[in-house]
């Protein structure tokens, strides 16, 4: 019994320590961005064009993946909505306006981030984890470079920018795919479906807030997991798995927190 309590205590302490370290990585990343902006001496040392390389790796290389997956999800969601309505009222007039409102304020950025958490999060953790176990991170420290400035800051900036852009693309793709599905499967009038009268500025703001938050969380969680990799290839594998789980979990928790905060701020009028 006492051993079980000791194990639970150890797990709690370990989790608290990991949370504190994650928080430090986040704060250090923000400090690194500040150093980069103010061009302080500590900010030097990043390879030239690293930010562009990361923008391309996170954004361009995810585009097809995001378009295809969210396009299909958009089709399935609209099909299911129309199917249920056909069994109850048969009135499809509100499908399009309600759908775009949901897509902008929630499904677009959240599903995009979930997809990026798997693709980008795994990539970041594997790359940084490999550098950690092959002592390249130690070599950076010996060269006078802060590993977070070199490894996480460019990925953080690229991820924030690209999650926002990809979320916008995803909303358009989901909306378009959903509209065509409703039209060809249930004969819904396209003008009726593509009606954006229910969309308000607060929905767009919510999409931006969510996309930026998710974009910030994914590289920090994945980078943190990569920097904790130990041993050899097994350690990198562990870091990659932890990064995907951690990033996805972060997206879901942030979705809940931001949606709850928005409900509170708007007095339930979302």
């Amino acid at each position: 019994m006492s051993q079980r309590i000791a194990n639970i205590g150890e797990a709690v302490v370990s989790a608290a320590r990991a949370a504190a370290e994650l928080w430090m990585v986040y704060i250090s990343t923000l400090a690194g961005i500040w150093r980069a902006i103010t061009r302080r001496k500590a900010g030097r040392g990043r390879p030239k064009g690293e930010l562009v390389r990361q923008l391309h790796a996170i954004g361009n290389r995810s585009l097809i993946f995001i378009v295809v997956t969210l396009g299909f999800i958009g089709m399935v969601m609209t099909y299911e909505a129309c199917l249920q309505l056909s069994r109850v009222t048969g009135d499809y007039s509100q499908v399009g306006p309600q759908y775009i409102r949901l897509v902008i304020s929630d499904f677009g950025p959240t599903l995009t981030a979930m997809m990026l958490a798997t693709r980008v999060g795994a990539g970041i953790a594997a790359e940084i984890g490999s550098m950690k176990v092959t002592e390249q991170v130690d070599a950076l420290r010996m060269s006078g470079v802060l590993p977070i400035d070199y490894l996480i800051v460019p990925r953080f900036i690229a991820s924030v920018v690209m999650t926002l852009l990809l979320s916008t693309v995803a909303c358009l793709v989901m909306y378009g795919a959903g509209g065509l599905t409703a039209h060809y499967s249930f004969g819904v009038n396209l003008n009726l479906f593509f009606d954006v009268q229910l969309v308000r500025m607060r929905h767009v703001v919510m999409m931006i807030v969510k996309a930026v938050s998710y974009g910030a969380a994914i590289p920090v969680v994945a980078g943190f997991c990569g920097l904790r990799a130990r041993g050899s290839s097994e350690g990198v594998g562990w870091a990659t798995t932890a990064a995907v789980i951690g990033s996805s979990f972060a997206v879901i928790v942030l979705d809940f927190a931001i949606s709850a905060a928005a409900l509170f701020v708007t007095g339930g009028d979302l």
């Binding site: 001496k41 030097r44 040392g45 390879p47 030239k48 690293e50 390389r53 092959t134 002592e135 390249q136 130690d138 070599a139 420290r141 010996m142 060269s143 006078g144 470079v145």
Partner: protein, 266 residues
């Protein structure tokens, strides 16, 4: 004479398993000291502790009259401008050319601009006979070439000011080598040995070398420290070590699979 680098009663355990159990070792300025011992005995851990890459559990580490085991990460950056390290794998950054790899610490430590750092990096690559490969990426080179480039990068770790007293250049005062010849062909290995000896003889650099290579150990070492069961078991010149009657020392240097030495896992 007090030691330039010194470990005093250092203890270190990983996951409750002790690796170092009161290690004490002193290294004189300008000396080439080899650290030998079986795998897992704590050789790499020992040298990494000097530069704060592995924290100690107990004991003290001193460098040039300054206690360094309690320094914070930011304070360690100043220390790392005086101590360089060549890692077991060359640890060059794949996305950069050799010149850019060597230029990185110059930009960080000496605050040189990119173009000026590249000029100095080429000069350092020339010192290790790698100037003609300055624009190549690490993946295009052999292990031996990468090791030499990594040594050039280590030489780029330098104080911003002039050379320290008794120092022949403004580069690192101490260079730590973690198995520099492992995995290399004999010719490349001897070239690395010659480079290490040149650093000590021509530039006054103190070299602490972790190695399993007997040719290196008995070829270029001033002294040899043999680690066994978490402490320095023997500390002697190569000639003294060869003549040592200690059965553990003899078993290790002659490479016998059976004998007085306890080797966990066998």
């Amino acid at each position: 004479m007090s030691a330039f680098v010194e470990w005093r009663d250092v203890h270190k355990a990983f996951d409750g398993k002790p690796v170092l159990r009161g290690l004490s070792l002193g290294v004189a300025k300008g000396e080439v000291l080899f650290v030998i011992g079986t795998s897992g005995v704590g050789k790499s851990v020992t040298i990494k502790q000097l530069i704060g890459l592995v924290p100690i559990d107990r004991g003290e580490i001193w460098f040039d009259g300054q206690r360094v085991d309690r320094l914070r990460e930011r304070e360690l950056y100043a220390l790392r401008r005086r101590i360089g390290m060549v890692f077991q794998s060359s640890t060059l950054f794949d996305a950069m050319t050799l010149a850019e790899n060597v230029a990185l610490p110059l930009r960080k430590h000496k605050q040189l601009r990119h173009a000026a750092a590249l000029v100095e990096a080429r000069a350092l690559l020339e010192r290790v006979h790698m100037a003609e490969y300055a624009d190549r990426h690490p993946a295009e080179l052999s292990d031996g070439m990468r090791k030499r480039a990594a040594i050039a990068r280590t030489l780029a770790v330098c104080p911003a000011g002039p050379a320290a007293p008794g120092q022949l250049h403004s580069g690192p005062e101490v260079v730590l080598f973690d198995e520099p010849t492992t995995g290399l062909d004999p010719v490349s290995a001897r070239r690395i040995d010659r480079l290490i000896r040149e650093l000590a003889d021509e530039l006054g650099v103190t070299a602490i070398v972790v190695s399993h290579d007997p040719t290196s150990v008995f070829g270029i070492a001033d002294r040899v420290a043999m680690l066994y069961q978490g402490v320095v078991h023997a500390l002697a010149t190569p000639a003294e070590l060869r003549a040592s009657p200690d059965p553990i020392v003899q078993q290790f240097i002659t490479g016998q699979s059976t004998g007085a030495m306890e080797t966990p896992g066998f």
